[in-house]
Symmetry: C2
Subunit: 335 residues, 2 copies
């Protein structure tokens, strides 16, 4: 492969999307037209390195909220920084301080570390920075379909923190400190593994758990509509983002990612097509007002025109999302 060799930094590499992204990087061996030379993968616990990686992998336990952490990571001058580390929505709502400390302050320290390294290098250092934002930057009242010009008016602290970092990314990019883009991720469904503390977890568990023969709890009404994409598509967004023409992006650095608009009822129908009535019977309705309130404020349909014009792609149906789950992550029920 021609082109430059690249050093990669992945923050939040141990999270679900982070692991998918690292596996994809290891499989590709290259990104944005360059061969990957070295990947530094960090999370609160040291991530497990991806198998069969063709490049050097350094896995480290790093608490970004600790003061010198960001500076030390940037000392290695990564060419591409993937920033997926975050306190998730439910926890950022229940722990105000922790949410702002990690999702805003630690992120800003990372940006400042890049600025310092850029100043130190006389302007020579200017990495690409791909940030995991979220459609949680939007909040009701919203139009039935949200376009790329609609205001960010979050109804959670998590959404506020994501929207603030989006503004920082636009400003730091405009200033030439780094070349950043914020990917507003749809709800990622079907999440593998055990539930995390995100309020959106049930959208996945009502598919994953019944398909594995286990009961799942549905805390919100069946009319709840969501905008979703698979973990495979989400990892693909990050890989694709590293290669977009950043000059063409201009000053607006937030892109709403494509996805599938589906209601919980339609999810259940898709489950029925794959797992039959037996699977559907494993969904237990147990209303949770706090979760229902959070997700009710999330928008369910987007016109992600700008991202599509830049070549980002997701699944085209919820059936396809279930198929991706079965191919990538399904763990069969123990008979």
């Amino acid at each position: 492969m021609k082109g430059p060799t690249l050093r990669i930094l992945v923050l939040g590499a141990g999270g679900m999307i982070g692991r998918k992204l690292c596996a994809r990087l290891a499989a590709d061996g290259a990104i944005a037209g360059g061969r990957i030379d070295e990947a530094r993968l960090v999370d609160l616990d040291a991530p497990v390195p991806p198998v069969d990686s063709p490049f050097a992998t350094i896995c480290a336990a790093v608490d970004l909220a600790a003061e010198p952490a960001a500076g030390e990571l940037i000392d290695a001058r990564p060419d591409v920084v993937f920033h997926l580390a975050a306190v998730v929505s439910g926890e950022a709502e229940s722990d105000f301080d922790k949410g702002y400390a990690v999702n805003l302050d630690a992120t800003r320290r990372l940006f400042e570390a890049i600025r310092r390294e850029r100043d130190r290098s006389g302007g020579d250092y200017r990495p690409r920075l791909i940030y995991a934002s979220s459609i949680a930057v939007f909040g009701a009242p919203c139009p039935a379909t949200i376009d790329d010009d609609f205001l960010a008016a979050p109804l959670t602290s998590y959404g506020a923190q994501k929207a603030i970092v989006e503004l920082l990314i636009a400003d730091y990019s405009r200033r030439g400190i780094f070349d950043g883009v914020a990917l507003r991720l749809p709800t990622v469904v079907v999440r593998p593994g055990p539930p995390n503390r995100a309020a959106s977890g049930f959208f996945s568990s009502i598919i994953r758990e019944p398909l594995a023969g286990r009961e799942a709890i549905l805390p919100a009404p069946e009319e709840t509509r969501l905008w979703c994409a698979s973990p495979r598509a989400a990892a693909g967004f990050f890989v694709h983002a590293a290669a977009v023409d950043f000059d063409r992006l201009g000053p607006r650095r937030s892109l709403t990612m494509p996805g599938v608009s589906v209601t919980v009822a339609e999810e259940i129908e898709a489950l029925r097509r794959v797992g039959g009535e037996a699977a559907v019977r494993l969904i237990r309705r147990q209303a949770d007002e706090s979760i229902a309130n959070i997700v009710a404020g999330w928008p369910g349909r987007f016109d992600a025109r700008r991202a599509c014009a830049f070549g980002f792609v997701a699944e085209s149906s919820f059936d396809e999302i279930v198929r991706v789950h079965l191919e990538d992550d399904h763990v069969a029920a123990v008979a």
Copy 2:
């Protein structure tokens, strides 16, 4: 007058709008249905107290960027906080660190001081907070008329800082920490006194200086369109905001203020009607690319429907704005 007695805190009380606001508070003696008992007026230099104030006035020099400043101000438990203190657009653009330190970090420390006081009081303390935001939160490309649902996509660090604080105000208000509203001020024209470092200063000086018999520099093209209101109207926005029904505001706490949409050419025509050809001849065209670039990204027309529904009012023509200047601030030329 019936109703409660209120303690007021004005940050940035020595600035142009701050002084207008304090004079108005002194003239009214009351706000939001309550008699003003005490007003604490602070700025980098101790503000001059308004004349004939019917309430106790404490004027103090406070650097909000200094660590304990915000906490000490909130110790007095003001019922209404007017926050107009800021590093202006031109300076926030030329001094990245200072802009973020004052416009973002110091403001957030103020919000955190309110949170601490609220926690200390067992939830009893919850002031109203009226924040001076700006239409600089918007940036090109914009539609010809911007409505209340259009995204904040600033093209200056100043605008980014304002937009970030707007998000914090919405989140802190949603959390019940304070009851906040961000007023997106139009360009305030005609500013009295000597020019400040705001990029928008020339919009005022091309009226003020010629009417006082002095030359003024026009650094941007005559087609430049701006959204403006008088200093009197701007002070009125703050007074009015303190009395709006905050429950009716809901979670969206940023309001684009009403104004007049006018081009520099139309400003000059208004000047001609008042000051004649002699005044117009005092405008000297001297292009400044940096200023022209900043203001070119600012939007010139809004549909400020939400603010109007909440009863905010501005002038209805640029001639009226000039008349307000002549009534309130005009200093006649020395013959």
